[in-house]
Amino acid sequence: MSDNTFTLDGLAIEFQAGDTIMDAALRAGAYIPHLCHNPEFEPHGSCRVCLVEANGRRVSACTQPAAAGMQVDSASQAIGDARRSLLQMLFVEGNHVCPGCEKSGACQLQAVAYYTNMLSPHFTHFFPRREVDASHPDFAIDYNRCILCELCVRASRDVDGKNVFALSGRGIGSHLVVNSPSGRLGDSAFAATDKAAHVCPVGAILPKHRGYEQPIGERLYDLQPISVVGDVAAHEQEGD
C-alpha cells in the first residue's frame, strides 16, 4: 500500500495532502451518498448521510481526513441501513411530498433515498407547520422541504458576501431564517444570480416562473442514478 492511498470498499483511492475521504472519493469518481456536502464549500458534516466506517470507526466521509492505508467501508449492509434510517428521519422531519414537488426527479434527497432503497418514511411523521415564502419576484422558499444542510447559508455568506440566510433555534426547533427586517426573502438582499439561489439540494429554494420546464420522467435522476450523475447543483450551473 503506497502512502497516498486508502481503500474504499476494496478499491484503492489516491488522495492528496489535506483531502477528506469525500474529496478523494469524488476525485476518483467513487460515489459516497451525501446531502450537505458540496465540494465548492467547506465541509459541514451535519446530515451524516455520508457515514462510512473508517478503520472500524463510524465517521462522516466529508469531514474525516484521508489517511494512508485506511480501510473505508461505505457499501456494507450496516452502513446502508444506517443511511436509510438517516434519510427517513429527514423525510419525516419536514413535509416532503414528492408527487407534488416541482423538484421531483432532480432532488438529491429523493435520489439518495432511491439509491439507498428507501421504500417508505418508516418513522412517525412530525407534520410540522411551516410556511411558504413567495415574496421574492424570482425565487420562492418552501420551508416544508428544508433539510437544514446550510448550503444556502454557506453560499450566501462565503460566495455572495450577503449573509441572507442563517439557522436559528435549537434542536428539533432549528430552522432556516432570512436576514431582512420582515424575515421575508423579498425584503432581503437575495438575487436570482446569487450562488445561494443555485445550491439547494432539495426543493426548498426554487425559481419562479419556470415550473415543469423539464417534464417528469426526463429529469436528471429520472435518467440515471445519483451515483452516476452526482449532485444536482453541479448540473444546474451547467444549465442542464
Binding site: R48, R58, S60, T63, S85, E93, F123, S168, G171, V178
Partner: protein, 597 residues
C-alpha cells in the same frame, strides 16, 4: 417598557472604552436579558450595525440559548429545575401551586407582564432541592411555605434583592473529603512552577496520571503538551464551569470554597503552556457565584497572582475573565463552549482540528474542567506520588461525586478511584436502592446487582453525577425525563440527534402512556443505536444511553406497560375523529372507532 435611551446607555456601558467586540456578543445579550428580562429590538439593531453582524445572526443566537428571549419575561422570571431529582422531591406539585397562586399558565408571561413561571434543565442544586431560579438566582429547599412566600413577594412587587437571604442559601454539604477537599489553601503551585519550570510541571502531571475530570478522561499532561507544542502567537486557557450534566453540582462547591485553587490551576497552566488570557465559562445557573468569583480574581490581582509579572517573574503575564453561559447544556462540550465564548450559537466544531491546535479564536487552547485545574495545582505542589497514592492503576487520584436522590445525606463526597458503588451508597445512607444513575443523563444506569462495580475510568467513568433511585421509584419516569432533556438540549446540527432524539422521546412517552407495543421497543433500539454511532458529537452519542441501559437491565419497566398487540399506531385514531364528531354533531356508537381490535 425600556426606552431606547436606556438601552443605548447600557450598551455604551458594555462597550466601555474599548468598544464593542464580536466575540463578546453573548455577554452583551446576557447582560441585556438580565436588565430588561429580554433583549430589546433597539439593542439588536444597534449591536447589528456596530458589530457588523446581520440582525438575523443575533436573533439566531438569542433563539439558541434558553435564558435569552426577544419578548419580556417580566419583573420575575421563575424557572423550576426540571431535574428528575427535583421531581422526586415534589417540584412538579410546587410548580403547579405557584402557577395557581399567581394565576399564570406555565411558560407564558402573565398578562400584566409581572411574572413568568417555567421549567429549566437541572440547576445544580439537587442536594438541596427542589430548587428554582428567580431572575437567574438560585432559590433552594422549596416547600409549600416557601412557594407561598414567593407568591406573596411577587404580588407585592418586592425586588429579588430584598427577598429573605435564607431563600438563596446554597450549602456546600461536603460529606467526605479526600486529596482535593482536604486542601487548606496553604502553599503555592506557582512557586512549584518557579522551581520545577514548565517541563518539570508537565513531567509531574504525566507521572501523576491525572486525567480530565469532566468525564472524558483525556490525560491532562498530554493536552497541555500538545497545546504548548502548537505553533502560535497566542494560546488560551479555558476553565469549563458549565456544569450542566443533570445531578452534578461539585463544581459549584469547588468554585464556592476552593476558587483560589482553581484559578491557581489555570494560572499554572498559563505559565506552563505560555498563555496570557484565560476564561472561566460559568453556567448562568450559577449567577450567584459570579460576584464572589470576581472578588477572588481581584484579590489575586492585588496579590500579584494575576496580571503582569506574576510571582515577580518578568514576562509571566496572565489574567482571567469570567464569561457567562446562557442556558445550553451542549456548551459543556469543549468545542461548543469555544463557539459560545466567541459569542456564537454553541454548535460543536468538526474534529480535527482539536482545540489544543485550533481553539478559541483559532488559537491553541486548553479546556479543562474545574476539578482538573484544582487537581493540577495540587499535584504541582505536592508531587505526582502524592496523587498516585490514591486510586487505581488506570485512574489515579480521587473523584468528587455529587450525590442526590433517595439517600439520607445528599451532598459532596470525594472518593479514591476504585471505590465501589455499594460503599458509596452505605456512606450516603441509601438503603434498598434499586438503581444508581452514574454520570448523569448521559451516563449509565446501574442496577442493584451491579453495585460491586467501581467508580473508575476502566469501569464506571463519571464527571461526578450520582443519582440514587429507591425501591418505590418508577425508573421509566427517569427515562422520560432524560429523553425530554436531550431533545431540549440537542443543538440541532446533525440529523440523528436532532430527529432521532425527538423520535426516541416520543416512543418513550408512548410506552409511558401505555400505548406502545413490542414493535416500538425494537424501534427504540434501532433509533438509539443509530444516534450512538452516527452523531456529530458526544451529546448525540450518549443521549440514548438511558434508554439502551434500561431496556437491557430493567426490561420490566417497559414490558409491564405494553399493550398485547403487535403494533400500535403513534396516534389515537378515535381521538383524531373527535373534531369531525364535533362538527357533524354525531356522537353515537357508529361515530367511534373501537379501541378493542
Amino acid at each position: 417598557m425600556e426606552s431606547s435611551s436606556t438601552v443605548n446607555s447600557m450598551i455604551d456601558g458594555l462597550a466601555g472604552s474599548e468598544g464593542l467586540a464580536r466575540d463578546r456578543l453573548l455577554q452583551y445579550l446576557y447582560e441585556l436579558q438580565c436588565r430588561f428580562s429580554h433583549v430589546p429590538d433597539t439593542a439588536i439593531g444597534r449591536l447589528s450595525s456596530e458589530l457588523d453582524l446581520p440582525a438575523s445572526h443575533i436573533r439566531a443566537v438569542i433563539a439558541f440559548y434558553s435564558f435569552l428571549h426577544e419578548t419580556p419575561r417580566g419583573d420575575f422570571d421563575i424557572l423550576f429545575s426540571d431535574s428528575i431529582t427535583d421531581h422526586m422531591l415534589g417540584s412538579l406539585a410546587l410548580q403547579r401551586r405557584l402557577c395557581e397562586l399567581l394565576g399564570v399558565v406555565s411558560g407564558q408571561p402573565r398578562e400584566d407582564g409581572r411574572v413568568t413561571v417555567d421549567f429549566t434543565s437541572c440547576t445544580g442544586m439537587c442536594d438541596q432541592g427542589p430548587a428554582l431560579l428567580v431572575n437567574g438566582y438560585a432559590v433552594t429547599c422549596l416547600d409549600e411555605a416557601r412557594i407561598d412566600a414567593i407568591a406573596a413577594l411577587i404580588e407585592a412587587g418586592t425586588p429579588v434583592d430584598d427577598w429573605p437571604v435564607e431563600f438563596f442559601r446554597a450549602g456546600d454539604h461536603i460529606r467526605r473529603r479526600g486529596l482535593l477537599l482536604e486542601d487548606d489553601g496553604e502553599g503555592s503551585a506557582l512557586q512549584a512552577l518557579g522551581t520545577k519550570g514548565a517541563p518539570g510541571i508537565l513531567d509531574s502531571l504525566e507521572q501523576s496520571g491525572l486525567r480530565g475530570r469532566g468525564g472524558a478522561g483525556f490525560p491532562t499532561a498530554t493536552k497541555w503538551r500538545l497545546c504548548a507544542g502548537s505553533d502560535a502567537d497566542e494560546r488560551y486557557v479555558v476553565c469549563n464551569a458549565d456544569e450542566g450534566e443533570p445531578g452534578t453540582f461539585k463544581d459549584r462547591v469547588l468554585l464556592n470554597s476552593h476558587a483560589d485553587r482553581v484559578f491557581e490551576g489555570m494560572t499554572l497552566c498559563a505559565g506552563t503552556i505560555g498563555a496570557r488570557h484565560g476564561y472561566l465559562y460559568l453556567r448562568a445557573e450559577y449567577r450567584h457565584l459570579r460576584g464572589p468569583l470576581e472578588a477572588v480574581l481581584q484579590r489575586r490581582r492585588e496579590a500579584g497572582l494575576l496580571g503582569s509579572g506574576i510571582s515577580g517573574v518578568e514576562g509571566f503575564d496572565f489574567d482571567i475573565e469570567i464569561h457567562m453561559g446562557a442556558g445550553a447544556y451542549i456548551c459543556g462540550e469543549e468545542s461548543s463552549l469555544i463557539e459560545s465564548l466567541e459569542g456564537k450559537r454553541g454548535i460543536p466544531r468538526k474534529r480535527p482540528p482539536f482545540p489544543v491546535n485550533s481553539g478559541f479564536r483559532n488559537r491553541p487552547t486548553v479546556v479543562n474542567n474545574v476539578e482538573t485545574f484544582m487537581a493540577a495545582a495540587l499535584i504541582a505542589q505536592h508531587g505526582a506520588d502524592w496523587f498516585r497514592g490514591a486510586g487505581t492503576e488506570g485512574s489515579a487520584g480521587t473523584k468528587i461525586l455529587s450525590i442526590s436522590g433517595d439517600c439520607e445525606r445528599p451532598g459532596i463526597y470525594e472518593y479514591p478511584y476504585g471505590t465501589r458503588i455499594s460503599e458509596i451508597l452505605e456512606d450516603c445512607g441509601a438503603r434498598d436502592a434499586q438503581a444508581v444513575q452514574v454520570a448523569g443523563a448521559a451516563g449509565s444506569t446501574v442496577p442493584a446487582g451491579e453495585f460491586d462495580r467501581a467508580i473508575a475510568f476502566e469501569d464506571l467513568a463519571t464527571g461526578g453525577s450520582f443519582m440514587v433511585f429507591g425501591p418505590s421509584r418508577d425508573l421509566l419516569d427517569m427515562v422520560v425525563n432524560f429523553s425530554r432533556f436531550f431533545v431540549h438540549e440537542s443543538c440541532g446540527f446533525c440529523t440523528p440527534c436532532r430527529v432521532g432524539g425527538a423520535l426516541l422521546r416520543d416512543l418513550v412517552e408512548k410506552v409511558h402512556a401505555g400505548h406502545a407495543s413490542e414493535h416500538d421497543l425494537g424501534e427504540m433500539q434501532g433509533i438509539a443505536q443509530l444516534m450512538k454511532t452516527s452523531s456529530h458529537c458526544g451529546l448525540g452519542a450518549t443521549a440514548p444511553n438511558p434508554v439502551l441501559d434500561t431496556l437491557e437491565k430493567f426490561p420490566e419497566i417497559y414490558r409491564g406497560r405494553l399493550t398485547g398487540r403487535g403494533f400500535e399506531p403513534a396516534f389515537d385514531l378515535d381521538a383524531a375523529l373527535s373534531e369531525s364528531r364535533r362538527i357533524t354533531g354525531r356522537d353515537g356508537p357508529t361515530a367511534h372507532i373501537g379501541t378493542e381490535s
